[in-house]
């Protein structure tokens, strides 16, 4: 078991870091064994910064500069299967190129942590931020955590390793940060000492498995205890493998919260209940649901609206996979109209990825609030406080008229 000295007074240092740098710094403190990665905007700063740590001997990490993201993910799976704590980072086209391997990573139960600096997908080519890239990977069996700012990016990386490597989970984790808005924006970030991070993250503990000889051995590629990993499974076994992954996802719901709470005690920083973060939602009549950095803007908008007497609230979805359906349902129980803010499209799907999940979750709610979708910010299109105010005023009308004209709406779009 990991030994954690959580009640110590932890001193923290204030650093000026952008989101990418905050991630590189956190990875450095997590004593990661192997990083295998390929550069792509807006993730590049992570791999560049980490390369500096390697070049200056500040880390023991083996850094594999692969020739593609596909190979990066394959190398990560193999490294993790060999017992190494493994990290990578990507975005957009790079993440799409990894697609095949993402399923292999989760299917092989390799607890890799990957930062995704969320960016739009081609075509047309666009290097700016939206969440199309990781939302398109939502069924690949990875845990998805999305952060609001650089501080949370830093804090979430440590938690991600603990969650991924937890014996009840053993799944890979994506930490999503909005491209440019978080990845490239300089912020004040409180960082823990190397020592307290080391104590918090601990060493990677491998699960034990039973060999055909009846021996209990650590789950890794080891000439002393040969094991066949990544086999073929026919219809007589494949299904059970997949069912086990779903069970691990369920377990993750609890583990994500436990790890978050433990980290909160250590650092003094918390993000809602780790799955969702509520902002003035208790008595809210109208609410939006955001993933990522937009929540920051919306919080300001809510303060202004509240001053005008509007009962506005926000639910920020921090954990998208596993989807915290019960928590979302409960948090929205007393709201009359809800706008889901989707920073990606699900073409032909009547709304974005988050919208599908939220409406699905609300199907069993007793109060049945109106749930409407707003697609925003694609390809880095700016979404201003004014735009969000408009969304809240739409919600007000929907709640008042008890009628919703359009299921899916677009924010700040020429039509």
């Amino acid at each position: 078991m990991k030994k954690n000295n959580l009640n110590q007074e932890t001193t923290q240092e204030l650093m000026a870091l952008n989101g990418d740098e905050a991630i590189a710094y956190a990875v450095k403190q997590c004593d990661v064994d192997v990083v295998a990665a390929y550069p792509i905007t807006p993730q590049t700063i992570i791999v560049e910064k980490y390369s500096e740590y390697v070049a200056n001997g500040e880390v023991q990490t083996e850094y594999v500069c692969t020739e593609s993201e596909h190979s990066a993910m394959a190398a990560c799976i193999a490294s993790s299967a060999t017992g190494a704590r493994t990290f990578t980072a990507s975005a957009s086209a790079g993440l799409a190129l990894m697609h095949e391997m993402l399923f292999v990573a989760s299917g092989c139960r390799t607890p890799i942590v990957m930062a995704v600096a969320n960016r739009a997908l081609s075509a047309p080519l666009n290097i700016n931020g939206d969440q199309s890239d990781s939302m398109a990977q939502r069924d690949a069996g990875w845990i998805h955590l999305y952060v609001e700012n650089a501080q949370e990016a830093y804090d979430t990386i440590m938690q991600a390793f603990r969650i991924a490597e937890h014996l009840d989970v053993q799944l890979p984790v994506i930490v999503g940060l909005d491209g440019f808005i978080v990845s490239h924006t300089l912020e004040n970030v409180d960082v823990l000492s190397d020592e307290s991070v080391k104590n918090f993250v601990g060493e990677r503990v491998l699960p034990n498995v039973l060999t055909h000889e009846g021996k209990t051995v650590p789950f890794k590629l080891d000439p002393d205890n040969p094991m066949t990993m990544g086999p073929v499974a026919m219809p007589n076994y494949y299904f059970e493998f997949k069912r086990q992954q779903e069970e691990a996802m369920k377990n993750a719901l609890t583990v994500i919260q436990q790890v978050h709470d433990e980290y909160a005690k250590l650092s003094g920083r918390s993000y809602g209940n780790a799955l969702i973060e509520e902002y003035k939602l208790d008595d809210a009549e109208v609410a939006t649901i955001c993933v990522g950095s937009a929540a920051g803007t919306v919080k300001d908008v809510i303060d202004e609206l509240r001053a005008e007497g509007v009962k506005a609230g926000l639910l920020r979805l921090r954990t998208f996979r596993p989807f915290p359906a019960q928590e979302v349902q409960k948090a929205l129980e007393n709201v009359k109209a809800v706008a889901v803010m989707d920073k990606s499209m699900s073409f032909g799907g009547n709304g974005g990825a988050v919208f599908h999940e939220v409406r699905h979750a609300m199907y069993d709610s007793k109060s049945h609030p109106f749930v409407v979708d707003y697609i925003y910010g694609l390809g880095g299109r700016d979404t201003s406080p004014k735009d969000f105010k408009k969304v809240y005023s739409d919600l007000h009308l929907i709640a008042h008229n008890k009628r919703m004209d359009k299921l899916v709406n677009y924010v700040g779009l020429r039509e």
Binding site: D33, V64, A74, I77, G83, P223, M227, G230
Partner: protein
């Protein structure tokens, strides 16, 4: 099961040595009767020199050996995808390096072997292979070449020879099987400036095992191209598999040689043909009996046989020149 240390003494690969060495690729796998690659894998695993991790690309040999809950592998083994054998090896090597530094690996050294078929090497796996050898990871990449995508039902690959009928290059009334010749994969690997590149066939098994051992002994990447007939895909008699691996050498369709630090050297079976050119057999001796070439033995397609003979001769001449030039 495995020695803890790397064997350093000269290994003679006598029949007795081989018989006494525990199997790495165990019986019970689902390969067809007379399968060339299965023979190759079994023999290759007899040449390991100590603790070894194996990784393998998707393909016939991966599928026949790892059907859960069974396995033919008595060595630690990893499969991730079709195009990833070399990338897997990079990840394993990187992990072993750092874990050794941190004192988390007991063995003083662990060898890494990556197996892939011609599909996983010439075609979809070429980028990962090129990247991994450029980065200089310490592993031996073994291409078992059965000249087609056999696992998916005998489709053409970049390693399928001119004129061979496959299910995506069928012999039709207009087209005589595959219209392009085999990609010179060994030259491509030599061009990466590897310390050790070699070709082998299981007919000359001692030569093959020695080459495996040499590839493992090199510090850094090494590449071994092994000829491995597939009776299913070649429409050939299962009992003739080994014979074809001999005829391929004697016809110079598949010469056996080594390239050590850029220096080409013919291995004995091919060297004997160089010394006594009259021993070189016409390619028809090799082609006949293989159902994939049956359509060539018609007046209509005679020109394809002629072209194949010419290309084979040209490549053989080129190879000999390289031997001369780098001597």
């Amino acid at each position: 099961m495995e020695e803890q240390k790397v064997t350093t003494q000269e290994w003679k690969f006598t029949a007795k040595d081989i018989a006494l060495k525990p199997e790495g690729f165990l019986p019970g796998h689902r390969a067809c009767a007379g399968c060339g690659p299965a023979n190759v894998l079994r023999m290759v695993m007899k040449a390991t020199r100590g603790p070894t991790i194996v990784t393998e690309a998707t393909g016939c040999m991966e599928v026949v050996s790892s059907i859960y809950p069974y396995t033919s592998w008595s060595y630690p083994w990893l499969h991730t995808a079709f195009e990833t054998a070399a990338a897997n090896a990079s990840g394993i090597e990187a992990a072993l390096k750092v874990l050794t530094k941190k004192g988390k690996v007991k063995q003083e050294h662990i060898d890494i072997i990556a197996f892939a078929g011609d599909g996983g090497t010439y075609d979809i796996g070429l980028q990962a292979l090129s990247g991994a050898v450029e980065r200089g990871h310490d592993f031996l990449f073994i291409l078992y070449d059965n000249e087609g995508y056999m696992n998916t039902g005998i489709q053409r690959s970049g390693g399928t020879p001119l004129g061979a009928a496959t299910t995506t290059t069928p012999a039709g009334s207009v087209m005589p099987g595959k219209m392009q010749n085999k990609k010179p994969i060994t030259d491509i690997m030599v061009a990466h400036d590897l310390e050790y590149v070699a070709t082998a066939t299981p007919y000359y098994w001692k030569d093959m095992l020695q080459k495996v051992r040499k590839g493992l002994e090199v510090e850094g990447p090494a590449f071994l191209h092994i000829f491995a007939p597939c009776p299913r895909g070649w429409r050939s008699e299962p009992a003739k598999t080994m014979e074809y691996t001999k005829l391929a050498v004697e016809s110079c369709v598949f010469p056996v040689y080594e390239v050590v630090k850029g220096k080409y050297e013919l291995s004995t079976p091919s060297k004997l043909i160089q010394l006594a050119p009259q021993k070189k057999i016409p390619i028809t001796e090799y082609l006949k009996g293989q159902g994939r070439y049956r359509h060539l033995f018609t007046p209509q397609h005679q020109h394809v046989v002629d072209t194949l003979q010419r290309l084979t001769d040209e490549r053989w001449a080129k190879l000999q020149k390289k031997v001369e030039q780098t001597a």
